[in-house]
């Protein structure tokens, strides 16, 4: 059985530090945020891979002297 997740709470008015188990609601929220974050990162990685592939294709076509698509031209010329 895994350890129950906790949070550290520092009361700035007293300097007291407490370690408190997360509530079920807090655990659910953390899990939902982790899922959302993973989805964001996956979307970012996918977009970066697509952009990198487009750049590589555009460079290869420039070197070969073949026509570029509009999307390929767009990644090379701002």
């Amino acid at each position: 059985m895994s350890e129950a997740p906790t949070k550290i709470v520092v009361d700035c008015s007293t300097g007291e530090t407490q370690i408190i188990p997360l509530t079920a609601e807090e655990i659910t929220e953390r899990e939902a945020m982790a899922v959302a974050y993973a989805a964001e990162k996956a979307a970012e990685a996918e977009a970066k891979a697509a952009a990198d592939a487009l750049k590589a294709s555009a460079r290869a076509k420039l070197i070969a002297g073949t026509p570029l698509t509009e999307a390929e031209a767009a990644v090379l010329v701002i």
Partner: protein, 187 residues
Amino acid sequence: MPILGTLASQFAGKPFTSFESIASATGTGSSGTITFSSIPQTYSSLQIRCVSQLSATKGYTIVKPNNDSSTSNYTFHSTYGDGLTVTSDGYVTGSLGGSYSIYSTGATSELSDNVAATILDIHDYASTNKYKTFCSFTGYSNNQSTNNLIFLISTLWLSTSAISSLTIEAQGGNFTTKTTISLYGIK
């Protein structure tokens, strides 16, 4: 202007207590959330200075003022470099449930003893008539030519509420014992 032409002389007559430690917390390895509660409302700005590492993989660590997770209250933009390329990024409201102001290394990522360093400024946090801007400088070097990260991040919290607490939350895993997060007040 320095009276005597030296840096030290320009502080003459000013108190040396303009920058004060409010509180500090160290990771335990079993908590992914650190909250500073009951923040005094007597400073003009807050600053978080931290070194952070997650028990899982590296990633953003979010900061939530007043424990606000509403995605309609945050916008974000950043510029970051990894040693090879520089990229700009941005999100409008509806995407993020906190301020993505801190980046943390991961114990399971490249260098297991490495920590990321962050300086985060929160200006006019006690104001009740304006939105709050979070500005941070965060990142780490990984002793590799390309797999490093350095960020300049600005987040807008679309709330006029005064900030009385800050919750710092790992996106995955917990804060390792190599993590220290300190909160300062600037008068």
